[in-house]
Every structure is written in C-alpha cells, then in structure tokens.
Amino acid sequence: MIINQFLLLGAVLFSIGVYGVLARRNAVLVLLSVELMLAAVNINLVTFDRVIQDTLAGGQVFALFVIAVAAAEVGIGLAIVLLIYRNRRTANVDELDLMKL
C-alpha cells in the first residue's frame, strides 16, 4: 500500500488549517481552520492504522476520539465566540487583546 497520497493530503490539509488560523481574522473561521488541522491529523491516524494493521485498530479508535473531542471543542468554542460577539459586537480576533498590558 502506498501511503504517500494520504500523507500528502494530510499535510496539505494541515498547512491550509495553519494558514487559516494565522491569517483569518474572523474567530469562526479560525475555529474552522482548527477543525481542518484536526481532520488532517485524523487522516494520518487512519492511514498509519491501516499500514501497521493494529489488532485493536488503535488509529481508527483515536480518530473517533478526536472527532468526538473536536465536536465538543467546537461547541464550546462557538459558544465563547457567540458570547464575545454579544458583549463586544465583534468577532475579530485582532481586537480580542484585553490580556495585553
């Protein structure tokens, strides 16, 4: 089995995710980019699971865990973003700099 295509797809997806996180200003899109990075990781997990032929199918199980945790994370993240928007009338991450002195 040739895994290059899968790994390449994962790397591309991850890079796009990183770019999204760094470049986007809208908090919703930043969260979306994080989801892309997680999806790239999931592809890698499933790919290596198939290569290693693990008896317990650990890679696939971990992928399922990641999907579940990501769902929870996105739920909380969107709730935070919603609250920020309600309080400050903006969801622009550049303006969320209250921690700066």
Partner: protein, 678 residues
C-alpha cells in the same frame, strides 16, 4: 577520765541543730496556716532540744561521752602543694557541747514559752518565731561544730538572726540602726575570727578541733601552729570579743535591747553572747598550753577586767531597765572572759551556765514589767511589788543570784572565778595572765561584785518599791509568762549547787575536755577567804543601795543623789565611746568615702556610661548606613532587576492570539528542523 562514744544518743545528736533549723524554714513557709501561727513549731523544736540535752547530760554524768560525727562535704585547696583541706559538717558530743545543748534547750524552751504571751498580737508574730527558731538552729550549729568552718557558719547564722530580731520593730529608725550597728560591730570582730581560723587551719592543715588540739597536746614548739600561735590567738580572741561584746567592742549590746524582750533574754543574755566564751573554752587547750597561745592570756584578762568593771558602772546611771540588764550582762561576760584569761576554764563556763539562768530570768522579769507598764524606763515604774507579786519574787531571786549571794547560783560561779584568778596569780607568769596582773584583776573583780549588787539593788528598788509613777493600772502577767519565770527562778537557785568545789563536782566532770588534756584549770577546794570577801562586797553593795534608794522612798529621784562631777557625765555618755566611733571612725571614713564614691560615680562611672553611649551611637550610625546602603540597596537592586526584566518580557505579551500561534508553529518548525538536521 573514762569515756565512751555515747551510742545511738550521740550518733543521732545531729538532730539537735537540724530540728530547730527545719522548724525555722517550716515556720517561714507554712507558719501562718499552722496551729498557733508558728509558735507551736518553734516551741516543740526547743522542747525537743531541751529533752535531748537533758538526756545527753544525764548519760554524760554516768560515763563521759566523747563522740565526734562528721559528714564529708568536699575537699578544697588540693591544686597547690600539700594535702587538701576537708570540708565537713559534723556534730560534737562532749561535755562542753552537751552543757551548751542543755543551756540552749532549757532556757530556749522557757523563753519560747514566755514569748507566746509576750508577743501576743504582734504584727509579725509568725516571722518573729521563724527568726527565733533560726537563731536556735544557728546557735546549735555553732556549739555542735567539730571544726572551725562549721563554727563560723553557726557564728554568722546567729549574727543574722540577731540582726533580724534586734530590728524586729524596724518601723522606728532607731531600732533598725541598732540592728545595723550590732551587725557591723560583729563583722569588724569577725574579721579577727576569720584571720585566726585561716592562720590555724594553714598551720595545722585541718579545720578540725581535734586535729588542732592534737598538735597542741603534741607540744611540738617548732610546729607552725606554735610559731604563729600568738597572732592566731589574738585574732580568734578579737572574734570572741565581738560576739561576747567585750570592751571596746561592747557598744552594740546595749543598743541591741531595741529587740523584743524574749530576744534580749535568750540571745543577748543567755546564749548568743556567750558564744565567744564558748569559743575560748573550745580552744582552751590552745590558750592553756605553754609555747602556744598562753602568752595571749594577759590580753584576754585585761580586756575582760576592763569590761566587767567599766560596763558595770554604766548600769548605775541607766534609766531603761533593759539597758541596766544589758550593762550587767556585759559585766558578767567580762567575768567569764576574765576567768578564761586566768585559765579558770571550769569557772568561766560555770558562770556562763548559771548566768544563762538568772540573767534570762531578770530579762523575762523586766519584760513582764514592761508588758504591764508599757514603758522601759524605771522612772515610769515603782511600787510594782504590790501589783506583780510573782514577777517581784522571781526578779528578787534573779537579783540575788546575780549579786552572788549565798546560796544562789551566781555565788558559786563567781566565787570560783575569784578563786581561779587567785590561782592564776600564784601559778602563772604575767604573760599568762597571772602574777601581779592577776592580783590587780582580783581586786577589780571584787569591786565589780560590789558594783553588781549595787546596781541590782537600785533596779529592784526603783521598779518594785516606792510609788507607782507610770500611767494606767499595772497587772500581773498571764501564767504563760509567769511560769517560765518561776522555773528559771528555781534553776537560778539550785544551778550553783551542782559544782561546789570539793563536794559536788558534776559540772567540772561534765565540761572536762574529753579529747585532749587541758592542763591545770580549776581549784579543787572551796576558798572561804575569797568567798567571804566576795559576799561582803555584794552585801556592801546591797546595803549602800538600800540606803541610797530604798530607805528613802519619798525621794527616789535617784539621779539627784549622787551626780558626781566628771564621773556622772562620763558614764551617761558611755565613756564617749559611741561618740568616738561615730565622730572618730564612722564619720571621717563615711565622709571621704561618700565623696570618693560621688567622685567615682561622677567621673569614672559616668565616663564609662557616656563612653558606652557614644560608642553605641557610632555603632548604630554604622549599622544604619549599612542598613540603608547595603541591605536596602541589595533589595532595591534585586527589585529593579526583576522590574526591568519584567518590563522587557512584557513586550512579548501582545495579546494577539495569532501572533502566539505563529510563534508556536515557528517553534515547532525550528524543533523539527533541529531534529532532522542533528
């Protein structure tokens, strides 16, 4: 003489000083909460001593006891050359100490009984009996001492008790001054005792009396003790002069009458003041052996004779009845010391023994009168015979005993002293207190007997006869006070009968030195000639006294009758000795000393204090500078460093999430690159 060790009675004799001592501390600690408020414990301890003393006395009459118990405490002076001195606490049970146990026990018991009535209602009742029991314990430590160190300990204990009790009514400045005077005069004399004890101990190598007497009885005239014996003997005698109030150190005793009367009776008449005589008796072989301190005896006999005559005269002009008795005590102590100086060991101690009874009787009788009329002065008394019959009769018996009238106690002892002086005149050299010196002393002693009877007749006449001159209505004292008077009157009558030369010699046998021979020391037959002369002198005193004071009841204002020029002012001012001590010694020393102390205080101590203050200021400034610049600087510098670094690190904290993420990614890239490359 055959001697035994005395068995259990002697082995347990250490209880004699310990019981009153324990009682003294118990009274001070628990007395106020105990029955009778402390009197009971003091009285019981004295009763114990009296019973033990009587038991020892009887046992000693059967077979002479010579026992010496000792508990070693430690060695001193071992570092240098020679063997170390052993410090011991011990108890001596021989005739001399048994006689003192008996006197302290019986007289102490009776005086303590009397004191219950006399001190009733006193504000420091418990404390009084605590101090009094301390005196009892100290006196018994003194007389039980088998070595010089323990003797000095007892000597100082009775000195402290004397100070406390003379100053019992310290609210009046005069009384506390009397206490200080007694203490200081005794301290001056104690220097002599210390010096003497040190000389003897260094030349013998031991503090024990038995070791000292072993050297003396060895008779080695080349021994160090023989070499230094004159100065040792003089120094010890100076110590004895202080405690036994010999001229010219007698000045403290009349003032000591400021204390309560039972104190005067027991301490300043019967026991404590005889400690000096006791000491001379204890060291008698040392003073009686040719080649040792026998050449000190002429000093002892002269001092004793001066004391017995000069102080007796002073009793003629005193108005305070206790002062009359105090001067009389001085005079009788002079007799005892004279006897010791003449080598009449038994006679001196016998006079100590009889004097303890009749003089404490006289003091207690005087106390009974003072209790009734609330004044010490005979000019406030008079006519008390009708009001106080028991006091009157016992006082008369005491006066007869003191005046040496047959057959009362004083006659026998005083006669033996006169016989002893005559014996010395025939057998000793002048340096040993004998020869021509003894003849003069004999004349003065007989004159002293006349003076004694004279002033006692005066005291009896002025206080008991004539008209009552005081205030209020005097009444007889309660039984607790009169019964001791009656008991002492009994002893004053019969005490002399135990030692009639040639007939009953129980006392001679009792006090005979047990450990070592004392040499020639007592006449063996009664001397009728001297006894007759002595009695005639006493009768002359009584008769002249009768015509001066008693016969002429209406004009009892006695002073006007014989204000002899020169002599009277001299006596009234106590020979100006007190004035001399104050003006000649105390003030000249006190003034410059005070000025020197003031100067020392102003210049030396202040200089030291100011210098210390200056140094402290300087040091404080240095510390302040170090604190401000050093410690604070270090803290400020570290704080500034923290602040600076914090300020720089703050720049990284932009608050921009994407910048942080970029840095994280960049870090990961760098790490991965690092792993790949290396």
């Amino acid at each position: 003489m055959h001697t035994v060790d005395g068995g259990a009675l002697a082995r347990w004799a250490w209880l004699i000083p310990v019981v009153p001592m324990v009682a003294a501390f118990a009274i001070v600690l628990f007395g106020k909460r105990s029955p009778w408020k402390g009197w009971g414990m003091a009285w019981l301890s004295m009763a114990f001593v009296a019973v033990y003393g009587i038991a020892l006395f009887i046992a000693n009459l059967n077979e002479g006891i010579a026992y010496q118990g000792a508990v070693s405490i430690g060695d001193i002076g071992a570092a240098g050359s020679g063997p170390p001195f052993t410090l011991e606490w011990g108890w001596m049970v021989d005739g001399l100490s048994i006689m003192m146990y008996l006197v302290v026990g019986i007289v102490g018991f009776l005086v303590f009984t009397y004191a219950k009535g006399y001190m009733e209602g006193d504000i420091r009742y418990t404390w009084f009996f605590g101090s009094f029991a301390l005196f009892g314990g100290g006196m018994l430590v003194l007389v039980s001492a088998p070595n010089l160190i323990q003797l000095i300990v007892g000597w100082e204990l009775v000195g402290v008790a004397s100070y406390l009790l003379i100053g019992h009514y310290w609210e009046e400045h005069e009384n506390s001054s009397a206490a200080i005077k007694a203490f200081l005069v005794n301290k001056v004399a104690d220097v002599g005792l210390f010096v003497g004890a040190i000389i003897i101990a260094l030349s013998v190598g031991s503090f024990r009396f038995t070791d000292i007497m072993a050297v003396v009885s060895g008779g080695d005239l080349a021994s160090p003790l023989a070499h230094y014996s004159f100065w040792a003997g003089v120094a010890i005698f100076i110590g004895a002069m202080g405690k036994s109030a010999q001229f010219p150190l007698h000045v403290w005793l009349p003032d000591a009458m400021a204390g309560p009367t039972p104190v005067s009776a027991l301490m300043h008449a019967a026991t404590m003041v005889t400690a000096g005589v006791y000491l001379l008796g204890r060291l008698f072989p040392f003073y009686n052996t040719p080649g040792f301190a026998d050449d000190v005896r002429w000093i002892i006999i002269i001092i004793g004779t001066l004391t017995l005559f000069l102080t007796g005269l002073m009793a003629l002009v005193a108005d305070d009845i206790k002062k009359v008795l105090a001067y009389s005590t001085l005079s009788q102590l002079g007799y005892m010391v004279t006897a010791m100086g003449a080598g009449a060991y038994t006679a001196g101690l016998f006079h100590l023994f009889t004097h303890a009874f009749f003089k404490s009787l006289l003091f207690l009788g005087a106390g009974s009168m003072i209790h009734a009329v609330h004044s010490n002065n005979m000019s406030d008394m008079g006519g008390l015979r009708k009001y106080m019959p028991k006091t009157f009769w016992t006082f008369v018996i005491g006066s007869l005993a003191l005046s040496a009238v047959v057959p009362f106690a004083g006659f026998w002892s005083k006669d033996e002293i006169l016989a002893g002086i005559q014996h010395a005149g025939n057998n000793f050299t002048t340096a040993q207190g004998g020869a021509a010196l003894a003849n003069y002393v004999l004349v003065v002693s007989i004159l002293g007997a006349f003076v004694t009877a004279f002033y006692m007749m005066r005291a009896v006449s002025l206080s008991f006869f004539g008209e009552y001159k005081g205030h209020g209505h005097p009444h007889e004292s309660p039984n607790v006070m009169t019964y001791p008077l009656i008991a002492l009157a009994f002893f004053s009558t019969v005490a002399g009968l135990i030692n009639i030369p040639g007939i009953t010699e129980w006392f001679t046998q009792t006090v005979e030195p047990r450990f070592f021979p004392a040499g020639d020391f007592h006449p063996t037959a009664i001397n009728f000639g001297l006894a007759g002369i002595g009695t005639l002198a006493a009768l002359a005193g009584i008769v002249i006294g009768y015509y001066l004071w008693y016969a002429d009841k209406e004009t009892q204002q006695e002073r006007d009758r014989f204000r002899i020029p020169v002599l009277y002012p001299l006596l009234e001012h106590k020979y100006y000795i007190d004035d001399f001590y104050m003006g000649g010694i105390v003030r000249p020393i006190r003034g410059p000393v005070a000025r020197a102390v003031d100067w020392f205080n102003g210049y030396v101590i202040d200089l030291v204090v100011n210098g210390a203050g200056y140094v402290a200021t300087r040091v404080a400034r240095l510390v302040y500078w170090f604190d401000q610049r050093g410690v604070d600087g270090a803290f400020n510098a570290s704080a500034a460093a923290a602040g600076g670094s914090g300020g720089m690190l703050r720049l990284l904290q932009t608050g921009r999430i994407q910048q942080y993420v970029f840095l994280i990614v960049a870090g990961v890239v760098v790490l991965v690159a690092g792993f790949i490359v290396f």
